[in-house]
């Protein structure tokens, strides 16, 4: 491996600033809950299904909000009703959905009985999740670990059944990770759609049924060819932890799960997003799911050289948010991207420097590397070549997950053959340059090294500023991606609640305990 020469102190400083930024939000993460967190609890208790477009977990939580009872947590109310009525969680929820039950009107049952009911449900679900984790681990024991860099391709037909065909074909060609792209702007839905998608727009919805259908397809083809194929989707937006829970249940392996994406790029309220990501990441940590972050988003609108430091800063913030949720570095797919204008002189050197900086800062993370997209044009030959250089940088810098660039990036969501050509590209380049970095050293006084130091310095300065004024103020001032967001602006603030003294979330408690979080 090639090494940058960077003063360790600088890295420690930057990390310390990021840690300060994150820990100063403890008041929020410990004392508040949100509607989607409570819906997640209900889902983990086994409540599913929808009435029309509205999922039953939403109906129950809305009911508790209306009754001003959500502050105690949804778990208690449903468990109380279960004990009182001798019914299952689903039956209770159905009752609420049918308008036949007012959970707050049911007399309080013996605390022990309620707790016992919750304990049982928690035990059942966590065992289920553990079984999925074990399945994954066993499969890896049987078939070996995931390749590095892993070949990650997307399917985005909008029909989950077409997606399965395309995913299986991609796996046969060498893909390690299949990402099912979401129908656009699911972030803004304050619920999780129900059932299988056949006419999504630019993707399918992240639904439990879709997860299940794709998981089955990938397990089938994986068994056949002797490989455990990873499945990924987005735990993101106004229903972030619910999607994480579904992923845990249906054995997704990777989840796009950024701490700040929703705030910046989807105008979701910052308190809401930070709360939701806290619990969603905890679920991912518990289920052994690898998270991925969305730093590439900064570079689709900003210049990749000028704003390189924003990527670095975001990476370190995402790292700290992940740590407090119990995610280990081995499961942190921190993101970045190959998005420098290819007409720039020495663009390869710039990209190498940036990618190497990411690896240097986060040596044990399966970094998620995004392909050239912004400068892809309709010239498929040129885009294919850019992707080749991108693949080379990935191999040279030991990236974890390679989101394969498509030669048709500027034209359409990937065709079947585009994916095959992309995989072939990566396999050739990875193999041809396999040990190239064993052969070379980066000069200490060269541009690559200086550039990485410059970016780190800029990030450091930026993080210091944010740490000083606080993340919320910094966002209000448009420090991130030139986008201004206020503490009480954005979508979903209504779904944020201060917990009361009796608040109880049995899943979070158990997960914290098992993950050794305070």
């Amino acid at each position: 491996m090639i090494q940058l020469s960077i003063d360790k102190k600088k890295i420690e400083n930057a990390r310390a600033h990021a840690k300060e930024i994150v820990t100063s939000l403890d008041w929020l993460l410990q004392d508040y809950t949100s509607s989607t967190i409570e819906r997640t609890v209900l889902r983990l208790m086994g409540i599913d299904n929808a009435i029309g477009e509205t999922p039953i977990p939403n109906i129950v939580v809305d009911h508790l909000i209306e009754k001003k009872a959500i502050e105690r947590g949804s778990a208690y109310w449903v468990a109380n009703a279960m004990v009182a009525e001798g019914k299952s969680a689903q039956e209770i929820a159905n009752g609420v959905a049918a308008g036949e039950l007012d959970l707050t009107a049911i007399p309080a049952q013996a605390n022990e009985a309620v707790m016992k009911a919750l304990d049982e449900l928690t035990e059942t679900m966590l065992n289920k999740i553990k079984a999925q984790t074990k399945y994954r681990e066993d499969a890896h024991k049987k078939f070996g670990p995931r390749k590095k860099p892993s070949l990650y391709v997307i399917v985005a037909t909008g029909n989950i059944y077409d997606d399965v065909v395309q995913a299986k074909a991609a796996v046969r060609e060498g893909a390690d990770i299949i990402a099912v792209i979401r129908s656009t702007a699911q972030s803004l839905l304050d619920y999780v759609p129900y059932g299988a998608t056949t006419v999504g727009f630019g993707g399918t919805f992240a639904t439990q049924e879709n997860f299940r259908i794709m998981r089955k397809g990938l397990d089938e083809v994986g068994e056949e060819i002797g490989k455990y194929v990873h499945l990924t989707n987005y735990a993101s937006g106004l229903a972030m932890p619910e999607i994480a829970a579904m992923g845990a249940i249906e054995r997704l392996d990777v989840m796009l799960n950024d701490a700040m994406y929703g705030i910046l790029f989807r105008d979701i309220n910052m308190k809401r997003t930070l709360l939701d990501q806290y619990f969603s990441r905890m679920i991912n940590a518990y289920a052994g799911i690898e998270i991925q972050t969305g730093e590439d988003n900064y570079l689709t609108t900003s210049d990749a050289i000028e704003k390189a430091y924003t990527v670095t800063a975001s990476q370190l913030i995402n790292e700290q948010f992940a740590l407090i949720s119990g995610i280990k570095h081995e499961k942190m797919g921190i993101g970045h991207a190959f998005e420098i204008n290819p007409t720039i002189e020495n663009s390869f050197n710039y990209e190498l420097s940036h990618a190497l900086l990411a690896k240097t800062l986060l040596p044990n993370c399966p970094l998620k590397y995004m392909p050239p997209t912004k400068f892809a044009t309709g010239n498929i030959f040129r885009t294919h070549l850019l992707n080749g250089m991108f693949n080379m940088i990935s191999q040279m810098t030991g990236q974890g997950v390679q989101l394969l660039g498509m030669m048709t990036e500027a034209i359409h969501t990937p065709h079947l053959v585009d994916r095959a050509i992309a995989i072939e590209n990566a396999e050739y380049v990875f193999n041809a340059t396999k040990n190239f970095t064993d052969e070379i050293e980066i000069k200490k006084d060269g541009f690559i090294n200086k550039r990485a130091n410059t970016v780190l310095d800029e990030a450091n300065e930026f993080l210091a500023g944010v740490a000083q004024k606080g993340l919320f103020n910094a966002m209000a001032e448009g420090e991130f991606a030139d986008i201004k967001r206020t503490e009480d602006g954005g979508k979903g603030l209504k779904g944020v609640f201060k917990k009361d003294a009796n608040y109880f979330n049995p899943f979070m408690e158990r997960m914290k305990a098992e993950l050794n979080l305070n």
Binding site: V165, Q166, K168, A169, A170, V171, R172, E173, T184, A185, F201, G202, T300, T301, K374, G378, A410, H412, T413, H415, L416, V417, A420, I421
Partner: protein, 248 residues
């Protein structure tokens, strides 16, 4: 002795005039063998091609095979009869436009831009409008002669027209980047029909842009102009300036 081209009968060119040679790449639900190869040939031959050479094929899994081919078409096109509508106003730089507007129109024009409906791609409209501009050309926000407002992404047609009414806008700029299932056509049509219904269509200039938009399509859809890949603020600003100068 050089090769002579007849513009009334142009044909694709590989390396000899009028050879008609073209490259093809496509997948078929057919096996990766001689039978599949023959199927690929038949596809091309039914398209009227000959001298078909399937130079590569590869199994894609799940019953599909990828083919790369070269073949000759006998199709010819009469270049002399093709008239495409294009924006024909000369292009001035920022300073020139500012002076032109001052001299010929004499007032500030209000421009409202947005990426409408489900589309969230703002980079294109930003390139045209934002202060800092794009590729060394400043955006409309920096022009003294314009009062420019960029409403950003996912603005509904209703919101856009309401804002235009509120600010008494002169020009509306619409961006559409996503084109899957012709969504851009649907969105652009919806906006213009709504403007017509509200009786404001002719009170303002309606310009649209995006990678799959050109002037011809824009005119067809009822807009005043359309701008594709590689457009700059200078193109748009000049068009607006000349248009309003003429109107006056």
């Amino acid at each position: 002795m050089s090769i002579i081209i007849d513009p009334t009968k142009i044909k694709p060119y590989g390396d000899t005039l009028d050879d008609g040679r073209m490259q093809f790449s496509f997948s078929l639900p057919a096996p990766a063998n001689e039978q599949g190869k023959e199927a690929a040939k038949i596809v091309l031959s039914k398209m009227g091609l000959d001298e078909i050479e399937i130079c590569y094929y590869k199994d894609l899994g799940e019953g599909f095979t990828h083919f790369i081919a070269y073949a000759n078409t006998s199709v010819t096109v009469d270049l002399t009869t093709i008239k495409v509508k294009t924006v024909e106003t000369p292009v001035m730089d920022m300073k020139e436009t500012e002076e032109f507007v001052e001299n010929n129109i004499g007032r500030t024009l209000t421009v409202i831009g947005a990426c409408i409906e489900s589309d969230a791609h703002t980079v294109g409209i930003d390139a045209i409008m934002n202060m800092k501009g794009y590729d060394h050309r400043y955006g409309l926000e920096r022009y003294k002669c314009f009062n420019a407002l960029n409403m950003g992404a996912q603005v509904t047609s209703e919101e856009l027209l309401a804002k235009a009414a509120e600010l008494d806008a002169d020009i509306i700029l619409v961006s559409q980047i996503v084109t899957q299932k012709d969504i851009h056509i649907k969105n652009l049509t919806r906006l213009i029909e709504m403007a017509e219904a509200e009786g404001v269509r002719d009170k303002m200039l309606f310009l649209c842009g995006g990678p799959r938009i050109n002037h011809e399509l824009a005119i067809e859809l009822g807009y005043d102009a359309g701008f594709g890949t590689g457009s700059y603020a200078t193109d748009v600003a000049s068009f607006i300036a000349f248009h309003y100068a003429e109107k006056k």
